[in-house]
Symmetry: C2
Subunit: 202 residues, 2 copies
Amino acid sequence: MFSGAQISLYPMADDFVGIILGALSALDVHRKHLRIETDDVSTLIVGPPDKLFPAMRDLFVAASETGTHCVLSAAVSRGCPGEPDDPICDPVGGSVPDQPLQTRIAAAVAAVKAAPLSGQQVACQFSLYPLGADRHMDEIYGCIEFLKASGVFDRPKNFCTKLRGDAGPVFAALTEALTRFGPVDGHVALDVTVSANSPTRI
Amino acid sequence: MFSGAQISLYPMADDFVGIILGALSALDVHRKHLRIETDDVSTLIVGPPDKLFPAMRDLFVAASETGTHCVLSAAVSRGCPGEPDDPICDPVGGSVPDQPLQTRIAAAVAAVKAAPLSGQQVACQFSLYPLGADRHMDEIYGCIEFLKASGVFDRPKNFCTKLRGDAGPVFAALTEALTRFGPVDGHVALDVTVSANSPTRI
């Protein structure tokens, strides 16, 4: 298994460099689980699928606490057959069992309800792409059913689902979507945008 | 067929609202092809798959001409079986024929080489997700082969491919990737980030 994400943080401010650099220390507690490489468009984090979103959450909350309108965008992937297996990607919480869809939905809802709050409100939208699967829409609809019961569902949108709430349960919902939906050892991608402090509230 | 994108424009400046509003008139020539709806996280554009990236190109170039570090992020989709057919999504240039992979690669390269220049240099990275297909990696590898010959290939990255060059051919390459790879009438998603005026050049 290989898993990771290309992530980018966008503070809408003249001092965007300072805000990004100021938030990076929030990643320190996660570095032991991750390999991190940065270029001019994004930062690659490679690590266990259940450790990717906690790292993104802490980075994003640290940047958003400045009060600046910030966005985090990420292309997340697990199980891509074009990438080599890497031991750093072994799930820290153990492999997710291959269970019926309804069992997975219930477990995902419970995990989000148990997530600690961060104090930072966010809006979020994401798309889940279970690849190489004949019945990919079943997994997508199952994930949407989970999200509607998660407590952070905002509304459906074309091509994605919108969440809203505290960054703790919102990022927990993203972990559940990535790890519990799509084939257990299959190729699943997830495209996400998280926003805080937007002057527009719709 | 239903096709469209959730797009967001991020100017890294205190005056991000002014820069976004100032760039919107660049969409005027495209409005006849598109249905547009905005909320606090993204703007939905629904329209023909071959008209989505030209609209994004003109919006992004208009914002980037301010000299501000700007990023455009989009989740693009065609053929999602969960969306209703919509006549506004009929390809303006006609349907792309169902041809062998090597024929499609050659046609895609020719289209990018013929694209007019915009005068704006950009970096770009994107992922292509052909869904519901058993052999999705063949289409992805075919698309990468096209990109390597397109004149705007920068380098491979984990989970995505990075392009660099003038916005004209770069956005043309995105149109070719979306419309020529993956099953002709199938479900294909594309996740893209385009950046201009970054203070970091790697």
